[in-house]
Amino acid sequence: MKLDTTGMESAAPVWGSHNELVDEFSAAPSFELPNTTDFDGFQKEAIQMVKPAKGTTTLAFIFKEGVMVAADSRASMGGYISSQSVKKIIEINPYMLGTMAGGAADCQFWHRNLGTKCRLHELANKRRISVTGASKLFANILYSYRGIGLSVGTMIAGWDETGPGLYYVDNEGGRLKGMRFSVGSGSPYAYGVLDNGYRYDMSVEEAAELARRAIYHATFRDGASGGVASVYYVGPNGWKKLSGDDVGELHYRYYPVMPSTVEQEMVEVTGA
């Protein structure tokens, strides 16, 4: 009687034997390894390539009434959440905001540095610096440190004589002017909601709600974003913080738990 051993077959192929009995079981699945001399190094590189650089979600957009700026508040180190209450929207001066994505220390230091330079410009020229000028200053500083390893992905948002201004500046020295930006590992999710709901003619409340929703959706999908969704508005009189809602509570506000019909009910078993 032949025992049925299909439940207990081992994965290791039986070397060298051409036993008919065993051949059917012994063909172990295998896959090709890449042709490199240093397989470990290759693996490390591959992992680094897919590792997202900036674990956060920030966004900003220009609309009829001014600029709306929003961000999450989670700081993560790899998988560890080091803080759920980080201020990612930095107040450069009363009418200009900068957002933080990338290295926290880098962003905080260089934004404060930018604030200093803006104030010096005011004193030297007896008038406020424009958003264009401030972002150019920032981009030039970052360009001079290019390749050293700073990690900064920021948006400079403000209101100057020409109206609302929004620029994206990063550590490579890139500087882009635009109407809508989102930066960070959660940005694809935020863009989905933001691009869908955006209209130039929105009221301040509508725009704030759009920004809040976009950040909420990014925190839901992205592991490196979460905490509190802060929303700031920059208008002709400077910036104003509109709201800071805990994202955990926002979820149940947008998608409340509906009582569902009971399919199976468990009853107490008596005297068991």
Binding site: A11, D72, R74, I81, F220, D222, G226, V247, M266, A272
Partner: protein
């Protein structure tokens, strides 16, 4: 986690690929039979495949021996199956919990190649395992009744996953006593 003639087994509900969340209702804990539960953390596909293989082996056992497997025996089975793949392992860390003879609770965890770790109080596995160790250690008490055990396990789970980017999005808790199995879903932070 072990209580007084009962145990609780809990997991989070997230399925993700690195930082992206794919699902928020992933079943990580499965029932092998009324008195043995298995939780599998780690790679989703390996967790599903390993679970299917174990159910298969348990059904064979039931046919041959005409009874359910004891949790200690089941743990040995899992360990053997994992070690079979020593040089190409399943990327899973199982957590096994069951009621043995005389309704004595039995819990154990394993690494991905089958090294058993038995404990009298609690076992943990997953990306947030270090946080879980801290939370369980401080919240655990001997001989908790099922209701108090549920509260403790829920608090430990929710507070630990709130420190991990890759875990969370709700919780799933099973509290098993000799007479009944209570399954509950926890409302957690969805970020």
């Amino acid at each position: 986690m072990v209580g007084k003639n009962c145990f609780a087994i809990a997991s989070d509900r997230r399925l993700g690929v690195q930082l992206q969340t794919i699902a928020t209702d992933f079943q990580r804990i499965s029932k092998i039979h009324d008195r043995v539960f298995l939780g599998l953390s780690g790679l989703g596909t390996d967790a599903q495949t390993l679970y299917q293989r174990l159910v298969f082996r348990h059904k064979l056992y039931q046919l041959r021996e005409e009874r359910d497997m004891k949790p200690e025996t089941f743990a040995n089975l899992v360990s053997a199956l994992l070690y079979e793949k020593r040089f190409g392992p399943y990327f899973c860390q199982p957590v096994i919990a069951g009621l043995g003879d005389e309704d004595k609770p039995f819990i154990c965890t394993m690494d991905s190649i089958g090294a058993k770790e038995l404990a009298k109080d609690f076992v943990v596995a997953g990306t947030a395992s270090e946080f879980l160790y801290g939370a369980c250690e401080s919240m655990f008490k001997e001989d908790m009744e099922p209701e108090e055990l549920f509260e403790t396990v829920s608090q430990a789970l929710l507070s630990s996953v709130d420190r991990d980017c890759l875990s969370g999005w709700g919780g799933h808790v099973y509290v098993v006593t000799p007479t009944e199995v209570k399954e509950r879903i926890l409302k957690g932070r969805m970020d």
